[in-house]
């Protein structure tokens, strides 16, 4: 029987998928994902380091403002900024943990080259961006609240 020159295995589709919905991860895509690992972990660790600086700043501002401030309303401002600083510290910790989890998932992918590990990495990444967006909204609302509080106390 003559060989069928149009057998499916000889046709190279533009979209390379193995099963329905799966997408082949090219070596370049995999290399980029693995390279991201270092920077993601770096940012996560730097976030934790910057928490120390933020606590230092909050403490220093608290000491300065309590010794220099006078007049009504300004003591409330000091309290609001301390609350904001502590809130930022908490948010940074949460984001740093998510980032380090993402970095760890990429490490696992780099070793195993398992589709499940890529799935885990993408899930953790989505969680990070969702958390970052929600925390950003909370910070913006807090800042608007602080701004209005300061304006109200000043007038």
């Amino acid at each position: 029987m003559e060989e069928n020159p149009y057998a499916p295995s000889q046709v190279s589709p533009i979209i390379h998928t193995t099963s329905q919905g799966d997408v082949v991860i090219s070596p370049a895509a995999l290399a980029a994902t693995i390279s991201t690992q270092f920077w993601v972990k770096c940012v996560g660790i730097l976030m934790l380091i910057s928490i120390v600086f933020q606590l230092f700043d909050a403490f220093t501002e608290n000491n300065v403002s309590s010794s220099n401030l006078s007049g009504p309303g300004l003591g409330g401002a000091e309290g609001l900024f301390v609350i904001l600083s502590l809130t930022l510290v908490l948010f940074y910790i949460m984001l740093a943990i998510r980032l380090l989890q993402y970095g760890k998932a990429i490490s696992a992918l780099a070793i195993s080259r398992n589709p499940h590990d890529f799935e885990t990495a993408m899930t953790l990444q989505t969680k990070f961006w969702k958390l970052a967006s929600i925390l950003t909204i909370i910070i913006l609302v807090l800042l608007i609240f602080i701004w209005f509080s300061l304006a109200a106390s000043y007038y």
Partner: protein, 141 residues
């Protein structure tokens, strides 16, 4: 018999059963991520707009005060450029994910991963620089 219509499979996309794939679940997660990434990128562009207004203010100050505000001008310019490129990278990432979801093309996944890498690399460099500046400021004070 040689097949005259046989296409050449690019070596970058191996057709064997051992290839690594992004499963439907992974692609769905990326699709969910797109909205959040785009939200942050829009905020970055808004921040960029605010920095532009601040830059105009600083320029006005510099024209009145002279050299001592020059450093502030440079710092602001750096903030402007960095914020713009961070927003650009995130937008590129979100756009690539959008294309991937529709096309399921490995090239789009590649583009998305490269844009993500570029974002984290830039953000990492900015954070390292910020921490170093902070340490320098604390030591000089």
């Amino acid at each position: 018999m040689n097949n005259p219509y046989q296409t050449i499979t690019p070596s970058v996309y191996p057709s064997n059963s051992q290839e690594l794939v992004a499963t439907q679940t992974a692609v769905n997660e990326l699709a969910k991520c797109k909205g959040w990434v785009r939200f942050i990128s829009v905020l970055c562009f808004i921040l960029f707009g605010i920095f532009i207004l601040g830059f105009i203010g600083i320029l006005t100050m510099v024209s009145r005060m002279g050299g001592s505000s020059g450093l502030m001008l440079i710092v602001y310019l750096v903030f402007l450029v960095v914020t713009f490129f961070l927003a650009l990278r995130l937008t590129g990432y979100a756009n690539a994910i959008g294309r991937l979801v529709h096309s399921r093309n490995p090239i789009d996944l590649e583009t998305a991963m490269i844009q993500q890498l570029k974002f984290w690399r830039l953000y990492g460099i900015v954070m390292i620089a910020s921490i170093l500046i902070k340490i320098f400021t604390l030591m000089t004070n």
